[in-house]
Structure formats: C-alpha cells, structure tokens
Symmetry: C2
Subunit: 325 residues, 2 copies
C-alpha cells in the first residue's frame, strides 16, 4: 500500500433506501488529516492499533458531517456530528458507534477535527495526565505548531511552565512565539547541532518532553532531560515512512536520570471528553487559547494534504473542507 | 580510565590516630561487585549519577565491615556496618553518612551486599513500585540470575505472576527454573532469534519487563510487549562497555502499545529500607526466598570478579570475601 493517490466517483442517491434497517445519510463537511493515519496504510499489524485501510474503498478518518436524513433513533435531519467518517462527499452510515453529536456550534465547525476533537483531547490527556506537570517545569514540545503541539504549549503556559517548541519553518516559529505564547521556539532544520540548540534554551535541562517526532530529536532530548523528567510519547512522525526506524542511542539515560517515558493514545481516554469540553470551551470563548488551522478546499486536494503532513507542509492543524454547507 | 587492574600496598596502623576529630577503624569483610560501577570508571559526566573513581586511590563500592575502633558517637568496637567502603582490607572512615549499622546477624553477613543491601532494595522498589504488578501478569526478567534479577523473579512468583527469565548459560537457566522457581527460562546465547524465543514463552505478550541488559534484547522485548505494558529500567549492562551504544529501533512501539518505561535508582528509595527489611527477613527465615551468591576469596581476586560481571562470569550475586573474620 502507499499514500492515497486517486479519487474515484460513485453515484449515491441522496435519500435513505427503503427498509434500510437503520441508517443515516450525511453530507460530509470537514476531514481531518492526522499523522496516525500512516499506520493504516500498511498491512503490518505489529504495533498498529487501528485497522488498515481497505484498498479500493474510501479511506476514513475523523471528520464533521451534517445529517441529511436518518432512520436511526437518536439522529435527525440537521444534526451535526463528528467522529470517524469516510473520505467522500456523502455517506450512508450504519455503524454510528464512533459518532458524537455536536452540541456547541458557537465555534468553527472545523474545530471538531482539531481543538474540539481528537487532537484536543490528545493534548489535554498528554499534558495533564501523562506529563505530571508542576508549575515552573521546563517543557519542550516538538512539532509544536501542529494540531496537538500548539495546544500542549498553550496548556503548559497556562499552567505556569517555561515552554519551548521546535518546528520546521520560520513561519511556524513565528506562530509559536507570537501567536501561541511559547517562551522560545526554534527551527530544527536550521540547527546543525540539536544538542547545542536544546542546551541554549534549556541550560538547566528539560523536565517534560512532549514527543511528537522521534528519531534524532528524541536522542538529543534524552541527553538534555533533567533527573526525574517525563516524556509523553504521543507520536514519532519522522519514523512512519522509514523502512527501518532510526535507532535511539541514548535510551540508557532513562536509568541514570530516572526518566519516565510513557506512550498514550487518546482512544483510551474518551470518557474524559465531557470534562475536556467543560475546560476548553470557556478558554476558547475568552480568547485564552487560540487554534490555527490549515484548511485545504475540496476533496480533490485531500490526498496531497494528508501526504503533506509527513513533510510538515501544513501550518497548524491540517483540515480538508469538502463543503462549508 | 579502564577497569581496575592493580593492587597497591600501603601500611595502616590498626589503631585510631590521636585527636582524629572522629573516625572509625574498620576491618573490611565483603565487597560487592555491581554493574553500575562501570560508570564510575569514566570521566564523562553525561548520564552518570555517581562520582567517578579517582585514579590512584582505592575504588569504593558497597561492602560489609567490622568496626575495630571508633572515636565517633554511634559506633563502637564490634559493630557491623554496611554501606559504601573502599576496596581495601582496613579503612579509616571519617564520613559515615552512607553507613548503616547491621541489626540482624542471623543471616550470612555477605547478604548485606546483596539481598539485604542495595540489590535487594533495587529489586523490591523496581518490582513493587515501578512495575505496577497485577496478579496473573506475564513478567520477563533479563540477567535473571543476577543479584537483582533472581529476586525480582521470586517476588513476581510470590505475587502470582507468570515469570520467565533469560541468562547466559545452562547452569544459570537451571538455577532459574529449579532454585528460584521461574516458570520458564532460556539461554539467550543459544537463541538465534530472540523475537521467536520471546514469542515461545509469551504467546500472548509481556505485561512487565524488568530491564537489566538493554540493546538487542530490549528491542525484541518491545515487539513482544502487551498494550499498557510496563518496563522497569534498572540497568543496561550490555551497553556499558560500548564506545557507541546500540540504537533501539522499536521504541516507537511505546506509543502504539501505550507502554510506560521508567528508569529508577535505588538511591531515591533509601527511606523504604526498614519496610523492605520487615518484608524480606521473614521470607528468608521461612525459606520462601532464596539467594545465590558467587563469592570470590581474597582482595587480590576482586578486580577480575568485577570485570567478570560484564561478561556474565558470575553465577548469582558477585561478592568478594576479603575476610570471613
């Protein structure tokens, strides 16, 4: 398998079939491009936590849809939903178990692919549950302008931490410093020596590393972690397209520095979503949290948007707008 | 620096100097050879958590001594102590802050270098505090017949876990199965394919890995960990003598499998020593825990004993007996 390259056409009647046994007909509005989707493009099962895509069928991912018609109890025409949907303009959905009805519409609907969706809960769980933050901790976030990183940095600032982010362009570094309020930020592509860069921003070491990238950056971070530091392993995007992952050479420092490194997946924390919404909605409304999206228009541009994630083409959360209604 | 090679002689008068300002004179009985000592033979400070040895001075480590004379309050002639002592036959000690007076002498005194000393507390803390064990968990211990591993395996068995150990000889594997009560054990040197070996003993995966070796074994264990598994990183002895550590390639599995990997050092848990003694002494007396030592006689054989650790020459806890009194 490889990245999705082709769009195919099929005819769908915009009405529910008779005696359908319970379906909803949706118009799909926004699609989410997320790094984890790479693992669904492989047949390998080792370490995969979601099913592989089925070649020839539409790929699926998180998205936002409008219900056009429903023969299922609990859904009615006009409802807005988010959850796992197919990458297509309209869908007939039988299994609604992953779908959540949207209650708050005084925010951009696309937010349900990001700050109010999976990336938002990921940042929330990763920072508050996995990082064990303390006021004054030094926090480093890689891929810091991405869907999750931008939120982790802002959560950490609100918590009273010193926060530095890395990203892959001047534009992103500017965003980190000027829009998201990171204390410092750097463009990892312009650093000859990542160890030196980290020492520059963390002369006394890193208490918390929010890990999104893996590889060389992780190796250099390990050298700069403080004793009893925590690494929340959210993803390792630099490794997903390699035939052979890069070896991490400094892992033995986990012992000497008593580091806790913990992987986590948002799927284990769905029960926290209501609590998360309660926290995040006021922060959005009061302007205390901001969120940057990179919205590409049109389903035809979705494959390139997804592929672009892995080379960091997106600036902020990558969204595909199929329709604004 | 390198491994210790030479013994030197010096004269010490077996009496306290006058107006010494507070000293104890000790006869040193048992020395402990521990893997962490390798890090003290390097000038590099990165990741080291104990001071380097001073070339030309005796090296130091844990050991057991008899007090011959004392001008310090709290110590008197005849006392037995354990803690950090010099590798020499007699010592004059000013700083007693690392020394603990031995209260229980109805056990072999050498045990204070092992089951009743640092390795014992390491196994206790590592298993009960870091591994978060549950009855029925599948547990894998590497370097399983060593000073710490043999205890971890026995603790896990007492806890109701399924326990498998790896070691480097048939003799050690026999010990694991027949003396320490491990469910299974294997000689890693005879396995062409560590992944296959682990799959043989853990067809449904590993819940807890007690990590003593690092390198290739860790990489293959990561492939065999279950979701939400725990790795207690106690040491990585295979890496200590390499110029360049081996890269760990499967670390990204920490995310997909939500693994927690946590390094720890016994020095952070000294306060648990009384509680530990309360647990372990009855187990020893009732024969519910057994401990195998590899005792080398004579200070002159201490350097080879220490060096032997890193190629697994020792069978059980490596001790040097300077004198049995």
């Amino acid at each position: 398998m490889g990245f999705p390259k082709h769009l195919t056409s099929a005819i769908i009647r915009l009405e529910l079939p008779k005696n359908d046994g319970g379906l909803i007909l949706t118009k799909n509005l926004y699609l989410s491009c997320d790094p984890y989707m790479r693992s669904r493009m492989s047949r390998s099962t080792e370490g995969s936590y979601v099913d592989s895509f089925t070649p020839g069928s539409p790929i699926s991912g998180n998205g936002v849809s409008r219900v056009l018609d429903s023969s299922l109890p609990g859904f009615k025409k006009g409802d807005l939903i988010w959850g796992v949907i197919n990458w297509e303009e309209y869908s007939l959905i039988k299994d609604t178990s992953s779908l959540i009805k949207i209650q708050h519409i005084d925010v951009p609907l696309s937010y349900y692919t990001g700050i109010l969706g999976m990336p938002g809960v990921t940042a929330y769980v990763g920072f508050y549950e996995i990082c064990s933050p303390k006021k004054g901790d030094t926090v480093f976030v890689s891929a810091a302008s991405g869907a999750v990183g931008q939120l982790v940095g802002q959560f950490a600032k609100l918590y009273g931490c010193y926060v530095v982010g890395s990203a892959g362009s001047k534009e992103k570094v500017d965003l980190l410093k000027n829009k998201f309020g990171f204390d410092e930020a750097f463009n990892y592509k312009e650093e000859q020596d990542l160890n030196a860069a980290l020492k520059r921003y963390f002369p006394n070491g890193i208490d918390i590393y929010f890990e999104n990238v893996g590889g060389k950056m992780l190796d250099e971070v390990l050298r700069n972690m403080r004793h009893h530091g925590r690494i929340a392993a959210c993803g390792m995007i630099t490794q997903y397209n390699l035939d052979q992952p890069e070896g991490i050479q400094n892992l033995f420092l986990i012992v000497a520095k008593r580091i806790r490194m913990e992987g986590f997946l948002v799927f284990d924390y769905c029960h926290l979503y209501p609590k998360f919404l309660e926290m995040i909605l006021p922060l959005i409304h009061e302007g205390k949290i901001t969120y940057v999206e990179d919205i590409v228009e049109g389903l035809e541009n979705a494959p390139a948007a997804l592929i672009g994630l892995y080379s960091g083409k997106n600036v902020g959360k990558q969204v595909v707008a199929i329709a604004h209604e």
